[in-house]
Subunit: 480 residues, 2 copies
C-alpha cells in the first residue's frame, strides 16, 4: 500500500456495493487480507485476519456444543468407496462432487478412497461398532475438520472445493430424542448467529427437494445478505433410522428388543465468515461484530512525536488488553487519515485516538465503525466504558441487519408478486407442497424455497404458484 | 464391561508392560477409549478421551505460539504435483509416501494432486506472492491441520497414515533471525514437553542423514519411552534460502538489493499423545499429567444410598468445577472397587472418595494416581488443596520420568558398549561425523543417532564406531 494516499483515493479501491456487489465482496476479502486464492482449483488460503474470525467462531460455538453435552472426536478423512455407497440417497447427492484418491505412495489402490465431503458414513460405521445397549445411548459427537466438495464455480468462504466446518453426529434410542436434538442444535445455531454474529436468521424446515441427501427432515437457518439473496448459514438433519438401517446400527433396548438407533447430524462452516461480510459490510469495507472481531479496538497515537503520546497510547492498550479486550496499537509511520481508512476498511469496531490535546483533558476520542459516530471517554473509565461501547455496536449491528431483513421480506399471493419480491429480498407465501410448483419458481425466478417457519399461521389459502389449495407457509429467495 | 468384576480380574485385561510393551500400549489405548481402528488402512479414529488430550495440548501450545508472535492461517490440503516437485531433496523425501488425488467429481484431473504430507511447498508459493520488501518481514504463520503420509506399518498416535499436527512456517530477512526462530521454537517445545506433558526431553541438532528433506539444519526434542526407545517428539528446521531459491521468494532489502528470504518450519503432532502414554503409563493403565488430563479428578460417592452422600458429592464436584478444575462425578451403578480400577486405568490424576464416615469428619479421602497414596483433605479446603495436589502429581511425574531417563543413558566409548546401552536406553558417545559410522550403528543395532546436544563438552576423543578422531558428542537410541 503506497504511503500518503488521501482518503478519497483509498476508499476508491473498493467497488461500491450498489455498483457491483460481487466485485465489492471480492475487493473486501482480498484488500482486508482475509483470504487469498490458491494454486489449486477452487481452494482458498485463509490468512490471519480471516482465520482469526474462524478461531473466535470455533471457540464460542464449541463451548455451546459442550454445554449441550457433546464431545469432540476425529474421524479419518478418507472414506472407502464402498462405505460412501451404502446409503442410496446419500451417494446420489454426494458422489458427483467427490475428490478421489486412487494411489497411495507407489501403489495403486484396490479401492478408491473419497476425501470426505461429509462424514455420516464413517460415523455410522463406528457407531455400529460402539453401540450395544440402551445404556450406551445417546452418543453425541462432533468434529472440527476440513471437507472437500469438487465444486464447479467457487467463491472464497461461500463455496469452495475445500472448506472448514464442524459436523455433529448423534445417535439416540428414540425418534423423539433425535427430533429434539435436531431442534436443539438449530436453536444453538440461531442463538449463535443472532447473538454472536449479529445476523438475524429465519429458522424452519426445508422442503423435500431441498433437504440433505439421506435425511428424513432438514432444518436450516437462512440469513439475508445485503443484496437480498439468501445464505443458508447452518443446517440440522434428522435421519430417523435411515442410515441406521443402511449401516446396521442396532442396540438392545430396555424391553429386551433389538432396535435401530435414531440419528442426527448438523453443521456450520467457514461460510459464516462470508455471511458476516455480506450482512454487515459497507462501502468502506468490513464491519465486524465485536464478539468475532480479531481486533476489537485499534489504538492510534495522534502526533506521536509529541511528548508522552506514545507512552500513553501503550499504557491504554496494555490496560485494555489486561481487561481481556482484543486491542492492537498501530505505530506505523503513516498519516492518521491513512490509518483511519485502513482500520475502517478492516472493520475494527472501535478506533481509539490518543492525541496531545485530548490527553491534557484526560480523555481519548473514540469512533465506532458501525455509525462512524465520535465521542470522548475519560481515560480512567476506558476499561469499563469500552466494553459497553462494544456491546452497543454489537446490538446496533443486529438491529440494523434485522430492520434491513424485515424491510426486504414481502408477503406474496401470486407469481408476479413473488418474482418481484425475490429481486431484492425474500418472498413469504403459501405453497401447495408440490415439487412442481417449487421447480416452477426456481426455473422462472432462479429462486428456491428457503424454509417453512415453525409458526405456520396461514397468510392465505391458495398456492402462490398453481393457485390450488395451499398447505404450507414458506419463504422463497435467490441464494448463494 | 461386565459388572462386579473384582480388581484382579480387571487389571488382568491389560498386558503387563514388561511382558510385552507393544501389547500393553495397544491394550491401554483401546481399553481406555482413546482411539479405535478405522476401516481405512493405517488411519485412526480419535475418541473423546484421546481427543480431549489433544484439545488441551492445542489450547496451551497455541497460546505459546501467539505469545511468541505467530498467527494462525489455513492452507489448502491439496498440492499440485508440480509444486511438490520444486525442491529436489523435499520431493525425494516425501514423494514415496504421498496419497494422490487423480479424479475430481466426474472428471479425471490433468495434474495429480497430493494430499499434503507437510506444507512447505504451498507456504512457499504464497510467501513468494506476499513478500515484497523488508517491511513485510518476518512473516510467522502456523496452521493446525491434518496431514497424510502413506505409511507401511502403523500404530495409533505413533505412526499413522493420517495424523493431526501443527506446522509453523516463517520467513525472515536474515540468516541470524531464521536461526533464532528455529532455536526459539525448539525451546517453546522443550518447555511445553517438560512443564505441560511432564516429559523430559533431550534437545539438539540432528545429523545430516537424519535431518528433514530440504533443511539446512534440523533440531529435535527426543523423549525416552518406558522401554528405553526414543520418540522424536518435535522438530524445528532452518531451511536457509534453500526453498526461497526453489520458489523464488525475494524481497527488497533496506540496502536496495533484492535478496532471498531465510525460512524455518517446525511441528509437533498427535504423536505427543503416544509419548504421554509410553512415558507415564504403568501396569494399571494410563497415568495422565494433570495439565493435559481431560478429567483431573473423579468424584466417587461411596455407599451412595446413605443419606446425604450423593448431595455432598455433587456439591464438591460443583465447587471444584466452579474453581476451574476438570472434574467428573461417577454415579454409575457399579462397585467402588470396579470404579477405582476403571479410573486408575484411565489415568485420572486424583480420585476423590465421598463416603458417610469421612463426611462426619468433614473430610474426603483422596488418592493420587501416580503413587496411589491416599490422604484426607478437609472438604472446606478442597478448592485450594486439590490444585496443590495436582501440582504435586505434575511435578512428581516429571521427576520420576527424568530419573528413569537419566538412569537409562550410558556414556559409551566403543561399539560393544553402545550396543548394550541401546538395548534399554540411550547411548551417549563421541562420533567422527561420517555417514558411514552412523549407518554402521544403524545396521548393527537398529539404533539411530538422536541428536547432538548444544553443550558439546567432549567425553572422549575417538569415534565410538571407527575409532578415528571424533568431532561431535551425540546420542544414539532405537526409535518409534
Amino acid at each position: 500500500m503506497a504511503k500518503n494516499k488521501n482518503q478519497q483515493e483509498f476508499v476508491k479501491e473498493i467497488t461500491p456495493r450498489d455498483v457491483d456487489f460481487g466485485q465489492w465482496y471480492t475487493d473486501v476479502i482480498l484488500k482486508t487480507d482475509m483470504v487469498d486464492y490458491a494454486p489449486v482449483r477452487g481452494c482458498m488460503v485463509i490468512k490471519p485476519y480471516g482465520y482469526g474470525i474462524w478461531e473466535l467462531i470455533q471457540k464460542q460455538m464449541d463451548a455451546e456444543f459442550k454445554a449441550t453435552g457433546h464431545e469432540n472426536v476425529y474421524m479419518p478423512m478418507l472414506l472407502p468407496e464402498s462405505l460412501l455407497m451404502k446409503e442410496a440417497e446419500h451417494v446420489e447427492g454426494f458422489a458427483p462432487e467427490v475428490a478421489w484418491v486412487t494411489q497411495g505412495g507407489t501403489e495403486p489402490l484396490a479401492e478408491r478412497l473419497a476425501i470426505r465431503p461429509t462424514s455420516e458414513t464413517i460415523f455410522c460405521t463406528m457407531y455400529a461398532k460402539w453401540v450395544q445397549s440402551w445404556r450406551d445411548l445417546p452418543m453425541k459427537y462432533n468434529q472440527w475438520c476440513n471437507v472437500m466438495r469438487w465444486e464447479k464455480s467457487t467463491r472464497p468462504f461461500l463455496r469452495t472445493s475445500e472448506f472448514l466446518w464442524q459436523e455433529g453426529h448423534t445417535i439416540h434410542a428414540t425418534a423423539e430424542e433425535a427430533q429434539e436434538e435436531a431442534l436443539t442444535m438449530l436453536e444453538v445455531y440461531r442463538k449463535f448467529a443472532e447473538e454472536v454474529l449479529a445476523i438475524p436468521v429465519l429458522v424452519g424446515q426445508k422442503s423435500e427437494l431441498e433437504k440433505f441427501a439421506g435425511a428424513r427432515a432438514t432444518y436450516s437457518m437462512e440469513a439475508m445478505m445485503h443484496d437480498g439473496k439468501a445464505l443458508q448459514a447452518g443446517t440440522t438433519h434428522n435421519f430417523g433410522d435411515n442410515f441406521a438401517k443402511a449401516f446396521d446400527i442396532m442396540f438392545l433396548d430396555k424391553d429386551g428388543k433389538q432396535k435401530y438407533v435414531e440419528e442426527t447430524s448438523w453443521g456450520v462452516s467457514t461460510r459464516l465468515i462470508g455471511a458476516i461480510i455480506m450482512v454487515h459490510g459497507d462501502d468502506r469495507g468490513l464491519v465486524l461484530p465485536p464478539k468475532v472481531a480479531p481486533i476489537q479496538a485499534v489504538v492510534l497515537p495522534i502526533a506521536a512525536h509529541k511528548p508522552g503520546v506514545t507512552e500513553k497510547a501503550h499504557q491504554i492498550a496494555d490496560s485494555l488488553k489486561a481487561a481481556g479486550l482484543r486491542v492492537h496499537i498501530d505505530e506505523r509511520d503513516q498519516s492518521a487519515g491513512w490509518k483511519f481508512n485502513e482500520w475502517e476498511m478492516k472493520g475494527v469496531p472501535v478506533r481509539i485516538e490518543v492525541g496531545p490535546r485530548d490527553m491534557e483533558n484526560g480523555v481519548v476520542t473514540v469512533c465506532r465503525r458501525d455509525t462512524l459516530e465520535k465521542s470522548t471517554i475519560a481515560i480512567d473509565a476506558l476499561t469499563t466504558e469500552l466494553p459497553k461501547l462494544l456491546d452497543d455496536v454489537q446490538q446496533g449491528l443486529f438491529a440494523k441487519a434485522l430492520a434491513f431483513r424485515d424491510a426486504h421480506i414481502k408477503d406474496v399471493t401470486n407469481m408476479e408478486e413473488l418474482g418481484e419480491a425475490v429481486q431484492d429480498g425474500f418472498a413469504r407465501g403459501m405453497w401447495c407442497g408440490s415439487d412442481e410448483c417449487e421447480l416452477e419458481v426456481k426455473n422462472r425466478f432462479n429462486a428456491k424455497t428457503r424454509n417453512m417457519p415453525f409458526d405456520q399461521t396461514p397468510i392465505g389459502d391458495t398456492c402462490v404458484c398453481c393457485g390450488k389449495k395451499a398447505t404450507k407457509l414458506i419463504y422463497f429467495g435467490k441464494q448463494y
